[in-house]
């Protein structure tokens, strides 16, 4: 199983090379891998359906309890099938959709990386591994939403998605660590098998809040739902794959995965059902207001995600059955619908349903598929969506929830019927609206996905027993953590859910008939929506920018002396506190000194004093040099030749550097006032005194046995070196040295950048650095610099304007 994930990553790495060989045929070749993996996973269906669980162990970082162990149970199998199966068609579809696009290879690389990450996420057994894959899906999603990176809107949407999901990811990490602490292991299997009752653990509420924050942000639950519709800036294959069928379900997957450990408590039930119902209603309500095909679908996805959360919240056996069925049904029809919407967009050039009509004669296959998929979305028999919806209503009526939530769910169900009707009927039926392009049926490779997915939707609906037995029942058992008794069927008899279904279908269709009037009426809500959660997000982002501006003004004001003072005062505060309040200071050192030691010390002190009172820069440099060489002398006197040599060399080079810099500095424009000098002297003396005390104490206190003895003993026999300093540098503590030389290299490059690349823009040009996270219209478009080329163009234009001005002034003279 580890191999299945790894192989996709490898293929992603090879994609650019494949593309250079096979050009437009590449996507078809790439699709072979997910197709093969689908078959491989499908071959495990009978095994998993018989109740087995497949575990492949692999240690990754054993010292930190991080493993790459992967587990295949009903839930992960269903997800794996969806990821690979839909992924196959998405790759094919993307090949046609982005045919000839210059960045197609890059797109395929990221798409495959996403596929591998998502697969890793649903297979991972270790919490940390799960988190790593989780974040990888966020990052790949960011790159895919921002695929059209020349478009400012796409970049903004990508960043918004990233900030919301990764912000939630941070909370998730905290939650996972708490979970591992409480459950006693980082392995999901072990936590599940342990006897610990997590719901009685003191950290239960805290871990639940953190975990749910992670899940809610990822799965676009209210009030974090706003990023998902904005993510529709991505190319349609991405919307179909990430933002409906797979990635956004990661949050739901996590909640399902943790249900056996965390679920079933009052807190769980109340939180999940209320947020789920709220998300459903928000999604359905926002959907009915939209006219953009992709927005309609995106909001109905939000609604579906809310439904899944609600079902998990219900915590009954029937609800788990409904959860698995609904998840499968949604992935099948929503993936298809997105691809179909992309086809309509591709062929007509518009996604606005009010501008589309009567396309059924020109695109018969597309129209038929859309109709079938929308039937499933609306929950009409004999589609699988109907089976799932019946189960949803049944479990809702049986479940531990109040009337308010039931009403919210039914309202959203009615609205979704209207949405489904808009999607299926508006573009294809009614009067033909002429389009700017000649419209014809989409290429076969683009239709392959929708055709197969809708056929599966129909088949699963006609034969719900098979789908139930092999796919959804094992999944719901994995969620519930115990055997679940149940079966899926199309016909449940005349009962209350059926009645509700009929009512919602009728009302939904009625709403569709008067959709145009309805939309006008719903405009009344616009002021409310403008103050919704998204406005909160923008205010939050503005707040961050304000805070960072403020703290930059305070801390990074460009005055070297301020920096030093801040650093030293912080040091005095923190170290002084620890020193005096945590340890007792003993005053028992012996002062038996040799004459030469006293002499060196005196030179040192007087050189330092001279450096601090001299008025000339050269004098200060010379005095600091004297300090440095005296220190070197001390090293040599106390038999540390390596340090001594290093000190001398560093001093020499410092003097050379200073000489190079010194003559470039302007003269002092003003000297500090006596008060300032007094303050600085105070800080300096305090630091010196504290440092002296600290050294005295470190000599006096030996908290642990010194490691020097070990190093001295083993330097020759183990490390084959007599120079212990060097052995420490390159062997004992080589990792530290490795880090240090990287820091050194970075510092050198930083200095180089500061010297070489003078700011060529006007002062304050960085003012718009935070542009991307601010709400639209804040910054005039002309002020946003998009790329280096553009910057150069702007510079050239400025120069041109300047030259014109100059010539004009010459003429006037």
């Amino acid at each position: 199983m580890q191999l299945s994930v790894l192989v996709i990553y490898l293929l992603a790495a090879l994609t650019p090379w494949l593309y250079s060989k096979h050009k437009a045929r590449t996507p078809n070749l790439l699709a072979l891998l997910p197709a093969a993996l689908t078959l491989w996973f499908a071959s495990h269906i009978p095994l998993i359906a018989s109740g087995e669980i497949l575990v492949h162990e692999y240690a990754w970082i054993p010292g930190l309890d991080i493993s790459l162990t992967m587990v295949l149970d009903g839930l992960s199998l269903m997800f794996a099938l969806l990821i690979c199966g839909i992924g196959t068609f998405i790759v094919l579809y993307a090949g046609s959709y982005l045919k000839g696009h210059q960045d197609l290879p890059r797109f395929l690389v990221v798409l495959l990386s996403f596929m591998a990450s998502m697969l890793g996420l649903v297979l991972a057994d270790n919490l940390i591994t799960l988190f790593v894959f989780w974040e990888l899906t966020s990052i790949t999603s960011y790159m895919l939403i921002g695929f059209n990176h020349q478009n400012a809107e796409a970049r903004k949407a990508a960043l918004q998605g990233l900030i919301v999901t990764v912000g939630g990811g941070l909370a998730l990490l905290a939650g996972l660590i708490m979970l591992a602490g409480a459950g006693g292991s980082y392995s999901l299997q072990e936590i599940f098998n342990s006897t610990e009752v997590l719901s009685e653990h003191p950290l239960y509420v805290g871990m639940m809040v953190c975990l749910l924050l992670g899940a809610f942000t990822k799965s676009a639950q209210f009030p974090f739902h706003f990023w998902l519709p904005n993510a529709m800036a991505a190319p349609t294959p991405v919307s179909a794959y990430l933002h409906s069928a797979t990635m956004v379900k990661a949050g739901v997957y996590l909640m399902a995965r943790l249900y056996p450990e965390l679920g079933g408590t009052d807190l769980w039930i109340n939180t999940l059902t209320s947020f789920g119902a709220l998300t459903m209603l928000t999604g359905a309500f926002m959907a009915i207001r939209s006219t953009d095909l992709k927005k309609l679908l995106a909001y109905s996805t939000v609604m579906a995600l809310g439904t899944l959360t609600l079902l998990l919240g219900l915590s009954t056996e029937l609800a788990m059955l409904a959860f698995a069925a609904y998840l499968l049904a949604h992935s099948l029809y929503k993936g298809a619908l997105f691809m179909l919407a992309g086809i309509v967009d591709h062929e007509t050039g518009t996604r606005d349903v009010t501008q589309l009509g009567g396309l059924r004669k020109l695109m018969p296959v597309t129209a038929l598929c859309t109709l079938i998929a929308a039937f499933s979305l609306a929950g009409l028999p004999p589609m699988f969506g109907f089976v799932a919806k019946e189960l949803l209503l049944e479990s809702l009526l049986e479940g531990p929830v109040g009337l308010l939530i039931v009403l919210m769910v039914i309202t959203s169900a009615i609205l979704v019927v209207a949405v489904a009707a808009v999607i299926a009927l508006r573009p294809f039926f009614g009067r033909f609206i002429p389009q700017a392009r000649t419209v014809h049926e989409a290429p076969k490779l683009m239709l392959a996905g929708p055709v197969v997915l809708t056929t599966l939707s129909l088949l699963a609906g006609l034969l719900p027993g098979y789908a139930g037995h092999y796919i959804t029942l094992p999944a719901s058992m994995a969620v519930a953590g115990q055997p679940v008794d149940g079966y899926l069927s199309l016909w449940h008899g005349f009962n209350l859910p059926l009645l509700l279904s009929v009512i919602s279908l009728a009302t939904g269709y009625f709403l569709y008939r008067y959709w145009d009037t309805l939309r006008d009426t719903l405009r009344l809500f616009n002021p409310l929506i403008e103050r919704g959660p998204e406005a909160g997000y923008f205010r939050f982002m503005q707040g961050i920018v304000l805070i960072s501006e403020w703290q930059t003004r305070v801390l990074q004001n460009g005055s070297m002396r301020n920096y030093l003072r801040t650093i030293l005062l912080t040091f005095i505060g923190i170290t002084g506190y620890t020193l005096f309040w945590r340890y007792e200071v003993h005053w028992n050192w012996d002062l038996s000194l040799y004459l030469h030691e006293v002499v060196v010390a005196l030179i040192l002190v007087s050189a330092a004093a001279a450096a601090s009172i001299t008025r000339s820069r050269l004098g200060a440099v010379a005095s600091m040099g004297a300090v440095g060489f005296s220190v070197a002398l001390i090293f040599i006197l106390f038999s540390a030749p390596d340090l001594g040599i290093t000190q001398i060399l560093v001093e020499t080079l410092t003097v050379i550097l200073l000489v190079l810099v010194l003559f470039r500095l302007p003269g002092f424009s003003s000297t500090s006032t006596p008060a300032e000098r007094g303050r600085d002297a105070f800080v300096a003396l305090l630091t010196g005194a504290l440092m002296t005390l600290l050294i005295m104490i470190t000599i006096d206190v030996q908290l642990f046995p010194s490691i020097s003895d070990y190093m001295i003993e083993n330097s020759q026999p183990l490390a084959y070196g007599r120079n212990i300093v060097n052995v420490i540098l390159v062997d004992y503590r080589a990792l530290d040295t490795l880090g240090e030389i990287f820091v050194l290299a970075l510092a050198a490059l930083g200095v180089y950048a500061m010297i070489k690349f003078r700011p060529d823009t006007q002062p304050g040009a960085n003012h718009y650095a935070g542009t991307l996270i601010l709400p639209p219209k804040q910054v005039p478009e002309k002020d946003i610099v998009h790329s280096l080329d553009e910057r150069q163009q702007m510079k050239a234009q400025q120069q041109k304007a300047q030259a014109q001005m100059d010539s004009q002034t010459k003429e006037t003279h």
Partner: protein, 143 residues
């Protein structure tokens, strides 16, 4: 760039650069047993070119060095990272040192090892970093 009236410096720089470079290699190689090592040797090597830089300016120093200091940093970091892998391939802890003693004809034993590669990496990184700063500063001076 020739500064007038610095004949002694000119002559000294020409002769001192090779000597000091040789000395830095000496310090580098003996470092494991006697005072020395990559860091010190790197500083000595940059000292050699710093003298040349003062005498003949940035352009001639660049010519003499042939390699851009930035690339020296790259080489250094690369070598230091390379020395990590032998232990890794043998499934030992990160950065565990590996030793390959080689007998030379005449009875001299040379101990090749990953710490030596690592130390050479440190040498080039230090050398490159210091030279990068010095050359960049001198170049702005000359402009």
């Amino acid at each position: 760039m020739m500064k007038p009236g610095t004949l002694i410096l000119h002559v000294a720089a020409r002769f001192l650069v090779p000597l000091q470079l040789l000395f830095s290699v000496f310090l580098l190689l003996r470092g494991h047993n006697e005072p020395g090592g990559g860091f010190i040797a790197g500083l000595v090597a940059s000292g050699a070119f710093a003298l040349y830089l003062f005498t003949f300016g940035a352009v001639m120093t660049r010519d003499l060095m042939r390699i851009d200091p930035r690339n020296l940093i790259g080489i250094g970091l690369f070598l230091a990272m390379i020395s990590v892998f032998p232990a890794w391939f043998q499934d030992q802890a990160f950065l565990t040192s590996q030793w390959w003693p080689v007998m030379l004809p005449g009875g001299t034993e040379i101990k090749l090892s990953t710490p030596l590669i690592f130390d050479i990496g440190v040498y080039f990184t230090v050398f490159g970093s210091v030279m990068l700063m010095l050359v960049a500063l001198t170049e702005t001076e000359e402009r």
